[in-house]
């Protein structure tokens, strides 16, 4: 069946091919070892935003996180339009405050936990449709156009970072479309990041004066987050899984 939509698709595909060919002009090769060559294609204009040369991450200083403060959670709710409806078993939860207690010493710490934006995300591995994906710049997202709501990713995530929308919704944020039958999680405020901004939780935390969350490019050695990671000890949650999360914690 031929119709306008197929033609439109071809048009789109052709632009991609052209972009690809154009980008092919800037092929860089590097020899890693004798006989092993790394070929990197220069990005097209369309890929300028989700830049593979960057990896966005967060560093959360647990010492600075106040157990009674939930400014980051509130900011996320406002920014992305989710809220508690009084049903803890089904409510959306993009970010939550978690309290950890050391069994031996009794030391208690409070910290926010959200999608850890893993380098090797298990949610992406298990997704049967390709809806759960990692962008070139390391942000892990759900493409709700493709998500079928099977919730495999929710089971695969060791951080319980994902939620499922059970009921019809209205009043979504313009920046964070979300709807019944799809899985959702922290997007690292991708709409802000693409515009050169920082996530809402980071801004809110800084506004309280605590500044417990730092956002930045982990691949840039001169970024504040990279310098802090280089200077002070930090941990990934569940390091045993070797997922290399983009979200790091210090002083746990």
């Amino acid at each position: 069946m031929s119709c306008g939509c197929d033609k439109g698709r071809e048009k789109g595909a052709e632009i991609n091919r052209r972009d690809f060919l154009r980008s092919g002009a800037a092929v860089a090769t590097a020899t890693l070892a004798p006989g092993v060559t790394l070929i990197a294609f220069g990005g097209s204009e369309a890929q300028a935003r989700a830049d593979a040369g960057k990896r966005w991450g967060l560093l959360i200083d647990v010492n600075r996180c106040d157990p009674d403060c939930d400014a980051c959670v509130r900011a996320c709710q406002t920014e992305n339009g989710w809220k508690d409806d009084g049903n803890p078993s089904t409510d959306a939860q993009w970010i939550r405050k978690v309290t950890l207690k050391h069994k031996a010493t009794g030391r208690e710490v409070s910290m926010p936990v959200m999608c850890q934006h893993c380098e090797e995300p298990p949610c992406v591995d298990v997704c049967p449709t390709g809806a759960s994906f990692k962008r070139a710049d390391g942000i892990v997202l759900v493409d709700k156009h493709i998500c079928i709501g099977c919730r495999y990713c929710m089971m695969a995530c060791p951080f319980k970072a994902r939620s499922f929308v059970h009921e019809p919704l209205v009043n979504q944020s313009e920046n964070a479309p979300r709807g019944m039958g799809t899985v959702e999680s922290c997007t690292l405020c991708v709409h802000r990041v693409d515009a050169g901004g920082t996530p809402a939780c980071v801004e809110a935390c800084a506004a309280t004066g605590k500044g417990a969350i730092i956002f930045g490019d982990l691949k840039d050695p001169d970024s504040e987050i990279s310098k802090r990671l280089a200077d002070y000890p930090s941990v990934a949650l569940r390091p045993d899984l070797e997922l290399n999360p983009g979200v790091r914690y210090s002083n746990i």
Binding site: G8, F133, Q172
Partner: protein, 155 residues
């Protein structure tokens, strides 16, 4: 899908301004838009808007390119239909810009299961409850009127 697009094209493409008098009563009442007209012309947009939106959504989502030509939220800058009271209507109302044609062509779009169907700032819960579209409510009202009982009472 092809047949529907063809139907839409025939319906909108062939009726010139001179023929408006002869339109059938089934003709959709397309809400008047604000702002400048599309430079490509309405016929182009009527035919290609699904492709433009679909292509740009992938660019936005996967590649982070937000300088796209066609975005759903930009539609409502000009195409936010209002009711008699001047309140912006949601997709649950059949006067919504998208629904006027899509209802006519019997095409159900699911964009608004996730995307908001009004400009940011409009309280959609105040306007209409999701899932209860205008037609369902009218049928319920008609049933109530004709049978004299509401649906809850007849159970």
């Amino acid at each position: 899908m092809g047949r529907i697009l063809l139907m839409l094209t025939l319906a909108f493409g062939w009726v010139g301004p001179g023929l408006t008098e002869e339109r059938s009563s089934l003709w959709p009442e397309i809400p008047k838009a604000t702002g400048d007209p599309h430079p490509e012309g309405n016929a182009y947009w009527r035919k290609y808007h699904p492709d433009m939106l679909r292509h740009d959504r992938d660019l936005t989502m996967h590649q982070g390119d937000r300088q796209v030509q066609a975005s759903l939220k930009a539609c409502f800058d000009c195409h936010a239909a209002k009711d008699q009271a001047g309140q912006v209507v949601t997709y649950a109302d059949e006067r919504h810009f998208c629904r006027t044609c899509h209802d006519y062509a019997a095409v159900k779009v699911d964009c608004f299961m996730c995307h908001r169907s009004t400009p940011e700032g409009v309280d959609e819960t105040a306007v209409e409850h999701a899932g209860l579209d205008g037609r369902a409510r009218r049928i319920a009202a008609w049933l109530e009127e004709t049978t004299g009982t509401d649906r809850e009472g007849s159970r």
